[in-house]
Symmetry: C2
Subunit: 318 residues, 2 copies
């Protein structure tokens, strides 16, 4: 029986990954400081004997107390709305935190997977972005706490692979959506859904012509698992959905699917907001045989249903 | 009387900076772990009552024990020849080390100056590079341990300025040369000088058509001081010499100036070696009234004299 640690295991993607690993018959240990993660996300797993939860901040050295085969390192605030509030925490989590997790992986002779991000590409001047693209990031801009610290984590992973023989690999996660996103996440899908469901105006930044590609979380989690179990030491692989649409199209779609009377309103584009972001997934296809399977229609349906249930339970706006 | 801390104070640039600050009548505390720094560089200052040396690795929390006005944060291995050997140490020095030094600066309500680098621009696709250029860096390449960790340090400095009111500022140092460079530094000036003085072939990587601009260390140190004492909170300023020459031209000049019989030989260009690097110093001129004053001829003369003396003392190759 394999044992996997998922840092950030109480987060949006982390908790889905934990469930997926349990469904594969693995022992799963979620580690989370509950900064942006939430016990609600893991409560359905707490009764499972194969599941443990450790409340811990990876900025402090990590002890697991049992033999581990796989470290999935997802811990980090990732919401744009947190970049302004928690930049130092984000930077230290991605630097010292990554260092600490890698060291436990080395002690265990375990595989290590770094969850990096399409933010590594910054505001790209090529589209779609292949893994060989070096990116276009403002090192001193307001988003740099996240972009630069994820790039740092990638570089650190590579340094450990080169110098200490770490069996490491890096994924760059593009926009992902699904149940358990935080309503105040600052990202466009939960923003639009909660606005639509509560009858508030859907806020589009800029003219809405900037494009995004949206991957449903179950597709992503399957890709992460395949990456961990592939012969991909030292590799960087994009995981995301290459189907591109404009933010305005998405707003209209969500307005339609929720049957919301909300208006769509336009606000100024924040500084350094990327104008396009779309993965080239040729490498994931070739290496992992992976590509997204869930249509945007289906994924949004499930996500809207989750947000609707959540809002009904709370008897108020999300 | 001002008190300044210079991390990396036993390094090439750090030790010159310490001497300059002493000459300005300041109390100076050099902090260095002697990883790439060397006590030889500071031994001339040890008799000065205004000078103290603390052997300390900034990856560990720093205590100074007296009130400090200015923190010059230069600590980090910076030699390309160290990138392959010490990538993890370099990355943790620039991340945790910078975090630790900033925290002591905040406790002291002191000014903080980060010594960043032209490596932040990576392999630039614009020339000369203004501070507004975002750079072209491979996040997972063999040089990324240095480039990405310096970009991280810049982003961290900005995060502390924005969130905690740090009185911080960033300089990006371009190629600098002068006495006290390590002969095995891996950089082109000490390489060529030691090769020429010992009658070995001068090794040019690639065809030698890549350009560099070389700033003499006394010019640089004056610029660093001016930056610290200017009203530049939150600013990034290039410090370097915009006079560009090809590496091959430099090899020929050093061969001539040393009267060396050495041949010039060509070797393959290392991966991700920048093909051009030249500062746009308009901002330094406007903000600091600074520009380099020492001619390449003069600077090389002094540097060659220093290397020659050092080799004669040792009675062997450097």
């Amino acid at each position: 029986m394999y044992t996997s640690v998922v840092t950030g295991g109480a987060g949006f993607i982390g908790s889905h990954l934990c469930e997926y690993l349990l469904s594969k018959g693995e022992r799963v240990i979620a580690v989370d400081n509950l900064g942006s993660g939430n016990m609600d996300n893991v409560k359905g797993m707490l009764d499972d004997d194969n599941f443990s939860f450790i409340e811990h901040d990876v900025r402090e050295p990590l002890k697991i107390g049992e033999r581990v085969d796989f470290f999935y390192h997802l811990a980090s605030r990732a919401s744009p709305s947190d970049f302004g509030r928690y930049p130092i925490e984000i930077m230290m989590t991605n630097s010292v935190g990554t260092y600490n997790v890698i060291n436990v992986a080395l002690e265990n002779k375990a595989r290590f997977l770094l969850a990096s991000t399409s933010e590594s590409y910054g505001d790209p001047d090529v589209s779609p972005q292949p893994e060989t693209y070096w990116g276009h990031v403002n090192p001193v801009g307001p988003r740099s706490c996240y972009d630069e610290s994820k790039r740092f984590a990638e570089a650190l992973t590579m340094a450990f692979i080169r110098r200490q023989g770490l069996d490491g690999r890096v994924i760059r996660i593009f926009n992902t959506y699904g149940p358990r996103m935080r309503p105040d996440d600052g990202r466009v899908v939960p923003n639009f859904i909660t606005q639509a469901l509560s009858g508030k105006p859907l806020t589009v930044y800029g003219d809405g012509s900037q494009t995004r590609s949206f991957c449903y979380v179950s597709d992503l989690v399957r890709g992460i698992y395949l990456m961990m179990h592939s012969n991909a030491k030292g590799m960087v692989v994009n995981l995301g959905n290459p189907d591109e649409m404009t933010v305005l199209e998405l707003a209209r779609k969500i307005k339609d699917m929720t049957g919301s009377p909300s208006e769509i309103v336009f606000k100024p584009l924040p500084e350094n907001d990327p104008l396009q972001r779309r993965p080239d997934i040729a490498r994931a296809k070739a290496l992992l045989g992976w590509e997204p399977e869930v249509s945007l229609e289906d994924g949004l349906k499930r996500t809207i249903a989750w947000f609707r249930e959540r809002m009904n339970k709370k008897g108020r706006g999300p």
